[in-house]
Amino acid sequence: MDMRTYIWVFAILMLFILPMAAAQGIKIEEYKVDGVMKVVVDECGNAHVSEVWKFTPNLYLQMKQTYPTTYMLKREFENKRSDVEYRNMRIEWDDSNNGIKADYTMLGAAVNHGSYWELDLGGDDVTLSSSNGNTLVLTAVQPIFDGQGRVIETATVVLPNDARNIRVENGVIKYELPYEEGGRNPLFLGIAGAALIGLILINVPLKRG
């Protein structure tokens, strides 16, 4: 029931769908959930997230029974209830695709530990599929409802441009992004370099062929 999970939105919603699923426990049904998520982490540690979830019709119906209105869906992401802090939450049912779409910003998703940052994706079942520079592609497969179903999630995580030494450890992305104190404007450094070169050019006699 960890809410700060890799599949953030889905995890919260499934918390509440569980009783319904248990109600169906008497008969065997198969549930499938496929999710695609893009997470862009800015230099302050905020995550800008877009998620699309598709459900099998049986599960989608149960979700709709539990959250018959979009208000009830959105209510689960009220900051006073959630364990993260959302901004600009937009979530909606997609009846034609048995799905849910969500876009939001999660403040403080990545935590600065001084020498490194940490983005907790939750769960050990997250595996790194590929990486290219500051972009990681992760996948997770999780059983749900006592093995009656499974969730497959693919997440593309884009870290800040200057992130380096990126690694994934136990479902946690760690990276380094040293904080540059304000005032260390590279423009000044450029001017200093130009002045230094000018000094050299003026004062060092050059051999002229």
């Binding site: 540690g45 018959p68 900051n79 802090e85 403040l107 403080g108 600065n112 001084g114 904080y179 230094l196």
Partner: protein, 554 residues
Amino acid sequence: MNTRMVGSAALVILLIVSLIGYVGAFGGGPGEGKMDYKVYSKEEIMSGIYKVYGNPELGFWVAKVVIHNSGDGPMTNIKVKYSIDNYAPEVEKEYPILVPNGTIVDLYYPILSSDVTKLSSATPSNLRIKITYESGGKRHEETTTKPIKILGVNDFVFSSLSPEESTGSFYDTFSNIPFLAAWVTPSDPVVREFADMGNKLAGGAGASLSDEEAIKSLSGIWELAVRNGFSYKTEASDYWTGKFAEHIMYPRDVIRDKSGTCIDLAAWFASLAMSQGLKAYIVLIPGHAFPLIELPSGTIIPVEATAINDGVSFQEAVQAGVKTWQKAMSGPHTIIDIAELHSEGIVPPELPELPADVLSKWGITLQGAGGNAGGNNGGNAGGGNANNGGGNGGNGENTDGNGNGGNNGGNNGGTQAQWSTYNGEYFSFDYPAGWDAPEDYGGYVYMLSPDGEFEFIVIYQQGASVEDMVNAFESGLDDAGVRINARQEAQGEIAGMSVYAVLYSLSTDYGDYAAVARYFTAGGMGYAVIYDFPKDSQDYNQLGEYIVGTFRLG
């Protein structure tokens, strides 16, 4: 001075100035961090699930602090301290740095003292939060205190949604119901001993070995309860209808008191079954709760635990349970898997240690209470007060343990409110046991209070629409010479449905009355459920709402 010297001097000055600029001496240097923060906190803590709050895996934080750096420099060495007066010592979280425009979201999962389980009623306390950080070479500190209520160990709040957030639907109203798992106590020595006695009564059974053995064991446990006069009691009138909170007894309390509400009895029987190695679930439907027991083969049997009141056999309780289950499946319901919730960490609190012979002190014996062996509720009720009970309490001398005394007539010898159930072809509802039973006049069921001031009417008609039912009732008023002074449309709840409701202000030759009507269709039938009462009679208004709350289809 030649040109080279002038140029060199200018370049040296430019070099120095740019280096100074780079280290920030022109005001663009390391600025100061500035903290904005927000605190979200729970208004109350349920002592019965105090362990849940300390488990971050479950996500039920007590406080959430959102710290934002709105300055232009970093905040460093940030510390957030939390404590709850008398019940949770101070803990501290640390963050080395928060960059400008960054945010920290910190959650507080208090390790509460088990002393909270000694609270029998809500107790006020304070949640204290202190945030310190460094910025611009200075140390800053902010403190905040939030009131928090520590509820008594039996207090159960069914929903944490505020009234303005709740849709009023069944699932919203009972959103906390998974926490009920903390009231299921299969490991409690008192429960185990009771179950062992039941097993003994059954001639010894290994419940987890086979379905047959399980049924034998459960029958023995049930029989022990019947012999000892266990009964069902109704909830307080505000339970299902208003405040969304209830005093829920632990199974040991049910054994001590030999009675419980439907929810108490569900937790009690689920505990007993689990103590014998069986899986158990609790089903919650509007106005009712009952346990499901999973037999070793995987077969699930519903048990109408409140049937203990009628002194029926276990087999009959299961038969009644099947009917209840069928009703449950036709409407909103929630099933909680106790073992799964326990494994997730929603576990019972520590309960006080009791003497080893506590069952005999409470009068629990294999033969049954006093001279009441086998008499179950009949004898029990007969000894109760005169309020509707006792009259039919009988068969107290039936020593075979299967006496059928009591039943509905005698089941109300307790001191709490007394109720009977009207079971019609299409619907049922509870009504005060001392009143004349509702009568079906073919198309409508009518009940009148003994003082003639309160009427409860259910009009039903095959194939009728809501509009038809409205017309049927309102034209009926007209025919009876009752004037409708005002009608206010509203949404109402009945049988787990949100339905069209109308509040009427009426004038009759006998005075001014009010009526509340709920109109709906179900299963191809149109219904109007109405009660009326003297205007301003809040007692009758509450009674009407209670009866409506017990209304069930099927």
